[in-house]
């Protein structure tokens, strides 16, 4: 912000970042791209737009969700708003500014077509700086093993919403272990019927009960 005295420039930047944050919290999908463009043109560093605007907003949204102040429709709309903003600013990031925190392979187990929770976790992980590869829903074990061997992710995230498909998650974790693919890869699991006890029973490395917890868990599994 050339020609503006530093104190005022800082205030303008902070106001712009705050406006971006509010737009994500209030699910202003139609406005977010213009706001992020405006911040980029004003010379605000991409890393600050992400951390102080988009991610700061998702921290608030995550807390609102955990407190039952908002539910999945609102969380989803906020996450998609964040994603639109992130798509604008990510190409401008230099890799040294924000190196990837790690690669996470995500998928919903065989027999289960539900993916909203997984999609929200994906968006939050990307926002937090992870590289996410989403294998989608109804994931066969063959496809899963193939992708693990070719991508060699740091973390595998498995999701299921249905109690009817919980056994499939157990089977996947067992077979991955039997194939010796867990030496350099952690497994995190989640979904409505999945508890910490179930995660422990099937031998997963961790369980997140919501998207915010999943991101914190991924950071922990990376040794942060």
């Amino acid at each position: 912000m050339k020609g503006i005295e530093p104190g005022k420039a800082r205030k303008i930047m902070s106001e712009r970042l705050n406006t971006i944050k509010k737009a994500v919290i209030n699910r202003k999908r139609k406005e977010i791209e213009g706001l992020v463009d405006g911040a980029i043109e004003a010379g605000i560093e991409p890393g600050r737009i992400i951390n102080e605007g988009l991610i700061a907003a998702m921290d608030v949204v995550g807390a609102q969700f955990a407190a039952n102040d908002i539910f999945v429709p609102e969380m989803l709309a906020s996450a998609l708003t964040m994603k639109l903003g992130l798509a604008k600013v990510k190409p401008l990031l230099k890799s040294e500014d924000q190196p990837s925190r790690g690669t996470v392979l995500m998928g919903t187990v065989r027999g289960d077509m539900h993916d909203i929770g997984k999609n929200i976790v994906n968006m939050m992980l990307e926002g937090a700086g992870f590289t996410v590869v989403d294998l989608g829903v109804d994931l066969t074990l063959e496809k899963l093993l193939e992708e693990i061997e070719s991508l060699k992710p740091d973390i595998l995230g498995l999701s299921t919403l249905l109690t009817t498909t919980m056994p499939e998650m157990e089977r996947a974790v067992r077979v991955i272990g039997d194939k010796g693919l867990r030496e350099n890869m952690k497994i995190m699991v989640g979904g409505a019927p999945i508890s910490k006890a179930f995660a422990e029973k099937i031998g997963a490395d961790g369980h997140g009960s919501d998207a915010g917890e999943a991101v914190e868990l991924a950071k922990r599994l990376m040794g942060e």
Binding site: P73, L76, A77, L162, T163, T164, M166, P167
Partner: protein
């Protein structure tokens, strides 16, 4: 049936399954498996019958998926296999275009198979076991038509008109299916509408669904049990206000709380925990939870929702044992 209307009590409550109790053990015992049990009326009825004859449930319920109406409305349903439940592969109205219920809706194969299975059950167990039909409400049908994420997103960004219109356009399918199931032989119909606790808020239910459910309960003559998953403690009174005769609920709603809040207004059905108790627990765990529900005053005892396919049959029998001890 008496329990549904909170009528004369026998010496024990009934054991009931408004949602599926099909599991591998039961399939092996009766020789009927998925996907045949979704597609063939005789197989569908025989698997339902096995729940009554081999496990001892007092009800028979022949629909093991949530896709019968969706398929008849144009969804391309993959009927799965022995290990995999059916699911829709595409969403014919993801653009929220207008939906017209086909004139031959009830004659579509996925509806015909269910109606025929109910008639077969009527002939076999009418008067001996309560025959339960199952219909999807317009909220669940909206998930099928538009895709769940897409539909919930419209709620999140408050595109209210779009949401209301889709729900309204799907109501006639719910009414037609429920009425036909009563005519075919159902004693009671479960109306499943997945405005799930933890997924959507009580405010969403009140705004989008309560008036619709009130219209549905007036339009469908015959006893209706509402099924909504998740922790719905915060909206139980609204389910009673909607005019349903019963509510089938999950373990996340404490049985004593449910009885205290709405037990005097509607029949309560449930609420044995699926993931921790029926699937992973021992028969003793199941027994304890069933006794807790009975002592809390739950009217019909059974699993909270469709059970995992690997549920051990001994755990289902433990519900029956707990109930046969009486009140």
């Amino acid at each position: 049936m008496s329990a549904l209307y909170k009528g004369m009590k026998g010496d024990r409550p009934p054991v009931g399954n408004p949602t599926s109790i099909a599991c591998h053990d039961l399939m092996d015992l009766c020789g009927i498996s998925f996907p045949e049990a979704h597609l063939n009326a005789t197989a569908m009825a025989e698997l339902a019958l096995a729940g009554h004859e081999l496990i001892g449930f007092d009800t028979v319920m022949p629909e093991y998926s949530v896709d019968q109406e969706a398929a008849a409305l144009g969804c391309n349903v993959d009927w799965g296999d022995r290990n995999r439940m059916p699911d829709s592969r595409h969403f014919p109205h993801e653009d929220f275009s207008d939906i017209a219920i086909p004139e031959d809706f009830l004659e579509k194969p996925s509806m015909r198979v269910l109606l025929d299975a109910l008639s077969i059950l009527r002939r076999h167990v009418g008067g001996k076991a309560a025959i339960i039909g199952k219909v999807m409400g317009p909220w669940t049908l909206s998930y099928h038509m538009a895709g769940t994420q897409n539909f919930l997103l419209q709620i999140g960004i408050e595109e209210k008109e779009i949401v209301h219109r889709m729900i309204r356009q799907l109501m006639p399918a719910t009414v037609a299916s429920a009425r036909a199931q009563f005519q075919a032989g159902a004693d009671v119909v479960v109306l499943a509408d997945h405005a799930t606790g933890n997924l959507v808020s009580p405010r969403h239910y009140e705004e989008y669904l309560l008036p619709v459910h009130q219209e549905l309960t007036r339009a469908i003559e015959g006893p209706l049990i509402l099924h909504v998953c998740g922790n719905c403690t915060d909206r139980l009174e609204m389910f009673a206000d909607a005019g349903f005769d019963g509510y089938h609920f999950e373990w996340q709603v404490d049985a004593k709380t449910a009885v205290c809040k709405i037990g005097h207004r509607m029949c309560l059905v449930g609420n044995i925990n699926n993931p921790e108790v029926l699937y992973q627990g021992t028969p003793e765990d199941v027994y304890d939870q069933a006794r807790y529900a009975i002592e809390a005053g739950v009217d019909i005892i059974g699993p909270e929702c469709a059970i995992p396919l690997s549920t051990p049959i001994e755990n289902l029998k433990a519900i029956v044992s707990a109930v046969h001890e009486g009140y």
